[in-house]
C-alpha cells in the first residue's frame, strides 16, 4: 500500500553512491523513509533511539479512496472558482464607483476561497503525516569547538589586556565621543528655558472667541462657559497652552485667595482650560456642582473653590487668569498667567 512501491529504486539506507546518482546517468533516490538526512541525522551517524525507523510521510488522506480524492479536488476547484468570480466582481466594483462594502466582500471571498482551497489541498491530497525526526546536535557545539572559539577570542583580547591603559582609555574615549555625538540631537528642538511658563496672555490682551470676536462680560449667561483665546494680530491665538475658560458662576459664592481680589468681573472668572494633569482641555462643565471635568482622565476641578482638583489624577488647581474690561467694554486679561499652565514638568517646582 505504500507509495515506496512506486519509487524507481529502493536502495539500501545511507548508500552514498546511490544517493548521489547511479552510474546509469539516471539520478536515483533513496527510499524516503530511510534517508537519514530527512530525519536530522547525518549519514554514518548511529540512528537515535528516539527516532522511529521506516517512517513514511508520503501518505495522504485520500490515497486509497479515489472517489474521496475526486470530491476533494472538486471542492478545492469550487473554492478557487469563487476566488476567480470574486476577482471579476472586484474589477466590476472598482469600475462602478468602488463601493467599500462591496469591495470588502469581494476581497474577503477571494482571499478566503484561495486560502480554504489551499488548506483543503494540504489536508486531503498532500502528504502531511506526522513524522518524528532528530533535533540534530547542531543546537550546541562540541567541546573542541568551544575551546577553539575561546582561543580565537583570546588571540585578540590577550594582547589587548597587556595594555591596560589603552584598554581603559578606549572605554573613556568611547564614552566622551559618544556624548559629543548627542549634540546633533539637541538641534531637534529649541531649549525649553522658561517657554513652558509663557502663554500669549499678557496685560491688556483681549479675549477672543473661536470665531475671532471680542467678548463682553454680558455675552456669557449665568452658568455659561466660553472658551476664549488671546488676541494675536487680530486673530485668536492658536497656541496650545493659551485656551482659557470664561465661566459665569452668577451669584454662587466662590472662594478665591485674597491676593487675587479683582481678578474676576462679578461672577465671571477665567481659568486655564488646559488640564494640569496631562494637558487635555478640561471642557465638561457640570452646572449643578460647578465642577469642570476633563474628559481624558476624569480630573475634576471645583470652580467655586479656586478650581482645586477634587477628584481624579490631577493634583494642581487650574491656574486663574486675571480679567477685566477695556475702554470698549470687552473682556481683557489684566495680566498674564502668574504660573505655568498645563501639566507638570521637572523644573516647575
Amino acid at each position: 500500500m505504500t507509495t515506496t512501491d512506486d519509487l524507481p529504486a529502493v536502495p539500501e539506507a545511507g548508500d552514498e553512491t546511490v544517493a548521489h546518482g547511479a552510474a546509469s546517468g539516471q539520478p536515483e533516490r533513496v527510499a524516503f523513509g530511510r534517508n537519514p538526512r530527512h530525519f536530522g541525522i547525518d549519514p554514518g551517524e548511529p540512528w537515535p533511539d528516539d527516532v522511529p525507523k521506516d517512517q513514511d510521510d508520503t501518505h495522504w488522506r485520500f490515497e486509497n479512496d479515489p472517489a474521496g480524492a475526486r470530491r476533494a479536488e472538486l471542492k478545492i476547484a469550487f473554492c478557487w472558482t469563487l476566488t476567480v468570480l470574486a476577482s471579476i466582481a472586484l474589477a466590476i466594483v472598482y469600475i462602478d464607483g468602488a463601493n467599500t462594502q462591496a469591495a470588502g466582500i469581494c476581497w474577503g471571498i477571494a482571499f478566503l476561497g484561495l486560502g480554504i482551497g489551499m488548506l483543503m489541498w494540504a489536508r486531503d491530497l498532500l502528504p502531511g503525516h506526522e513524522v518524528t525526526a532528530s533535533r540534530g546536535h547542531h543546537d550546541v557545539c562540541a567541546e573542541v569547538d568551544r575551546i577553539a572559539v575561546a582561543e580565537s577570542l583570546s588571540r585578540g583580547t590577550e594582547p589587548m589586556a597587556r595594555r591596560p591603559f589603552l584598554f581603559k582609555m578606549m572605554g573613556a574615549v568611547g564614552g566622551i565621543f559618544g556624548l559629543a555625538t548627542i549634540f546633533p540631537l539637541a538641534s531637534l528642538g529649541p531649549r525649553p528655558h522658561t517657554d513652558l511658563y509663557k502663554t500669549d496672555w499678557t496685560g491688556g490682551v483681549r479675549a477672543l472667541n473661536e470665531d475671532g470676536n471680542p467678548i463682553r462680560p454680558g455675552d456669557i449667561p449665568v452658568n455659561g462657559i466660553l472658551t476664549v483665546f488671546p488676541e494675536v494680530d487680530g486673530q485668536p491665538s492658536t497656541d496650545a497652552l493659551s485656551p482659557t475658560l470664561l465661566i459665569n458662576v452668577g451669584d454662587a459664592p466662590f472662594k478665591i485667595p485674597p491676593s487675587r481680589t479683582g481678578w474676576n468681573i462679578g461672577g465671571l472668572v477665567a481659568f486655564s482650560k488646559i488640564c494640569t494633569h496631562a494637558g487635555c482641555p478640561a471642557s465638561l462643565y457640570n452646572v449643578q456642582t460647578h465642577q469642570l471635568i476633563c474628559p481624558c482622565h476624569q480630573s475634576t476641578f471645583d470652580v467655586l473653590d479656586d478650581c482645586n482638583p477634587v477628584f481624579g489624577p490631577a493634583s494642581r488647581s487650574l491656574p486663574q487668569l486675571p480679567i477685566g474690561t477695556d475702554a470698549e467694554g470687552y473682556v481683557i486679561a489684566t495680566e498674564g498667567y502668574q504660573e505655568a499652565v498645563g501639566p507638570g514638568f521637572w523644573n516647575r517646582g
Partner: protein
C-alpha cells in the same frame, strides 16, 4: 498501483527537479541546507499558529501601508477644506485643518479603494497586536522562554513594545481630534520625566506642543524607523526560531532530542499560505464591512476641544487606564517636581516590562532549573508561573477597562468616581485573586492527573523488527520528560550527573559515533542516547 507510463513520467519529473537542484548546488552548495528547509518540521498544535497570524497581519500591514504612503501628506500646514471636485464631505467644508488630515479625508473619499485600504491597515494593526499578545501568552504559559530560548523571549518583548509604538504613531498620523488628544497626553507623559522631560519633549516634537514639524517626524518614524526595527527584530526572531527549532508539548514518543510534526514541504507551506489568505480575507471583510477610525467624524485636531469617549486603540488602553487610575500623587521638593503622569505612564509600564524581561531568569531561580528544554510545560504543572501569568493578564484587563471609565460609567449607570475607585482596588485585588485561583486550579488539575484511575503514565512500547522491545517517552525512565510533578522531574539532573570525561567523549570526532552505527543493538543505541543527552545537558 501505477502504470509504467505514470512511473516513467514521475521519474522524468524527478530528474528535472534533480537537475535544477544540482544547478543550484553547483552555485551555492545549498543542497544540505535546502533539504533541512524543505524537511523542517512544524509541531501540529493549534497554539503554534498564533505567531503565524501575527506575521501574516504584518504582511497585510506592509502592503496596505506602502499603498497609503502614496496618498498621505505628512504636513501640519494649515489649510481650509474646500474641495472643488470629487466627493465633498459637507460637514468639514470651510474648516481649518492640517494638510495631513485633509489628505486622509481625500484618501478616504476620493481615492477608489483608498478607504478600504486604510481600514484594512487599521484592522490588520488591531489583529496584529492581538496575535502578538496571544502568542506571548502561549510562550509564557508553556515555558517556551526557557533555555535556550531566552534571547528570543527578549526579542519578542521588544517587538511587542515597538509594535505598540508603531500602532500609536500610525493612528496618530491622520491628525484628527481623537489621535491629537492622544499625542497631547503622550507629550505630557514625556514632559513629566524627571530631569530631562521638558527637553526631551521639545526635542522630539521640535518645540512646544503641538510642535511645528511633528507630523513630518511622526511619518518618518512610522513608515521608516519603526518598520526597520520591526523587520530587523522579526528577522532575528525567526532565524533564531529556525535554528533552535520549535518547542513541542510532551507526548508519547516525544523527547528533548527529537521533534514531531508535519514537514514544511508540502504540508505546512500550503497550510501557512492558506492561513495567510484567511487572515487577509478576514481583514478585508472587516475593512469593507466594519468602519474603523472614521476621522471625518472626529474632526481635525485643535488643542482646545475634546469630548468624552476619548480612548486609544485597544492595545494601548492599559496605558491610558493606568494614567486614569493613578491617584493625584506627584512629588515636589527643592524646586523640582516629578509630575503625576510619570508614575502611571512610564514607571508602572517600565516595572511591568522589566519583570517580563527578567522572567526567564526569575523562572530559573523559582524552579531551580537552569537546564535547556525543548519540551514544553503544561501550565498546570507550573502553578506559580501560571498564577503570575494570570495575575498579569487580570492587571492588564483591569487597566484596559479603566481606559473606558467614561463609557462604562454611562452604560452601567454608575458614577464614574465610584467606578474608578472600584477599578483602583481591582488593580490590586484582581491579580491577587487571579493568582490564587489559578494556583489552586493548577494544583487540583495535577491531582486529577495523578489519580490512579487516569491512564497509566509511561510511553509507547515499540516492538522492533527483530523482536526486541523498547519504550519511547517513558515519563519515569529517562528523565527527558518534563510532564510529571513539579520541578524535580524537570531538572535535567540526570544529564548533569555525567562525569566530565563522558562529555569529552561526546565531543570526539564523528568516527567514534560512526563506529556505533554498524550495530543496532540495544546497548549501542542506549549509549548513543546517553551521548546525545550529555550534549544537551552540557549547555549549562
Amino acid at each position: 498501483m501505477s502504470t509504467t507510463r505514470e512511473r516513467a513520467a514521475a521519474q522524468k519529473r524527478y530528474s528535472t527537479q534533480k537537475s535544477v537542484m544540482d544547478t543550484v548546488d553547483e552555485r551555492f552548495g545549498s543542497s544540505r541546507f535546502l533539504t533541512s528547509v524543505l524537511d523542517k518540521i512544524f509541531p501540529d498544535h493549534w497554539s503554534f499558529m498564533i505567531g503565524e497570524v501575527a506575521m501574516d497581519s504584518l504582511i497585510v500591514l506592509i502592503v496596505t501601508g506602502v499603498y497609503l504612503t502614496f496618498f498621505y501628506v505628512p504636513s501640519s500646514t494649515d489649510v481650509v477644506y474646500a474641495p472643488t471636485s470629487g466627493h465633498v464631505y459637507a460637514p468639514l467644508v470651510g474648516q481649518h485643518m492640517s494638510e495631513a488630515y485633509m489628505s486622509v479625508i481625500n484618501l478616504s473619499f476620493n481615492v477608489r479603494f483608498g478607504l478600504i485600504m486604510r481600514q484594512a491597515h487599521h484592522w490588520a494593526a488591531l489583529i496584529f497586536l492581538a496575535a502578538v499578545m496571544f502568542h506571548m501568552c502561549r510562550i509564557f504559559f508553556s515555558g517556551a522562554f526557557r533555555k535556550p530560548r531566552e534571547v528570543n523571549w527578549i526579542i519578542g518583548l521588544t517587538l511587542w513594545m515597538v509594535v505598540m509604538l508603531e500602532g500609536f504613531t500610525g493612528y496618530s498620523l491622520p491628525d484628527d481630534l481623537l489621535s491629537g488628544t492622544g499625542i497631547r497626553v503622550i507629550y505630557s507623559i514625556v514632559q513629566s520625566i524627571p530631569l530631562i522631560g521638558s527637553w526631551l519633549a521639545y526635542d522630539v516634537w521640535g518645540g512646544r506642543f503641538p510642535g511645528p514639524s511633528f507630523i513630518a517626524r511622526l511619518f518618518i518614524i512610522h513608515e521608516f524607523v519603526f518598520p526597520l526595527l520591526i523587520i530587523g527584530l522579526l528577522t532575528a526572531h525567526l532565524m533564531i526560531l529556525w535554528h533552535q527549532k520549535h518547542t513541542d508539548f510532551p507526548g508519547p514518543g516525544k523527547t528533548e532530542t527529537n521533534i514531531r510534526g508535519s514537514r514544511i514541504w508540502p504540508q505546512y507551506a500550503l497550510k501557512a499560505g492558506g492561513l495567510m489568505m484567511l487572515v487577509s480575507g478576514v481583514t478585508f471583510l472587516l475593512a469593507g464591512l466594519i468602519q474603523i477610525n472614521p476621522v471625518w467624524l472626529y474632526g481635525p485636531y485643535n488643542p482646545y476641544t475634546v469630548s468624552a469617549g476619548a480612548q486609544p486603540d485597544w492595545y494601548l488602553g492599559f496605558l491610558d487606564g493606568s494614567v486614569r487610575l493613578w491617584p493625584h500623587w506627584e512629588f515636589r521638593s527643592f524646586g523640582h517636581e516629578i509630575a503625576n503622569p510619570f508614575f502611571p505612564g512610564l514607571l508602572i509600564p517600565g516595572l511591568i516590562f522589566t519583570i517580563m524581561y527578567a522572567w526567564p531568569w526569575i523562572d530559573k531561580k523559582v524552579y531551580n532549573d537552569y537546564g535547556p528544554h525543548n519540551l514544553l510545560d503544561r501550565p498546570r504543572d507550573k502553578p506559580f508561573r501560571t498564577g503570575i501569568g494570570v495575575a498579569y493578564i487580570i492587571f492588564f484587563i483591569v487597566e484596559t477597562l479603566a481606559c473606558a471609565t467614561d463609557l462604562l460609567a454611562n452604560n452601567l449607570h454608575i458614577a464614574f468616581e465610584r467606578l474608578i475607585e472600584i477599578l483602583q482596588y481591582g488593580a490590586f485585588i484582581g491579580p491577587l485573586v487571579g493568582f490564587t485561583i489559578a494556583f489552586k486550579a493548577c494544583q487540583a488539575l495535577q491531582r486529577t492527573d495523578a489519580h490512579p484511575i487516569q491512564k497509566p503514565l509511561g510511553g509507547v512500547i515499540i516492538r522492533t523488527a527483530d523482536g526486541a522491545y523498547h519504550t519511547l517517552g517513558d515519563h519515569h525512565g529517562n528523565g527527558h520528560d518534563s510532564h510529571t510533578n513539579g520541578h524535580t522531574a524537570d531538572s535535567p539532573d540526570g544529564h548533569d550527573a555525567e562525569p566530565d570525561g563522558h562529555e569529552a567523549g561526546g565531543a570526539e570526532p564523528e568516527g567514534h559515533e560512526a563506529a556505533g552505527a554498524e550495530t543496532e543493538g540495544a546497548a549501542e543505541a542506549g549509549s548513543a542516547g546517553a551521548d546525545r543527552a550529555t550534549r544537551l545537558g552540557r549547555g549549562r
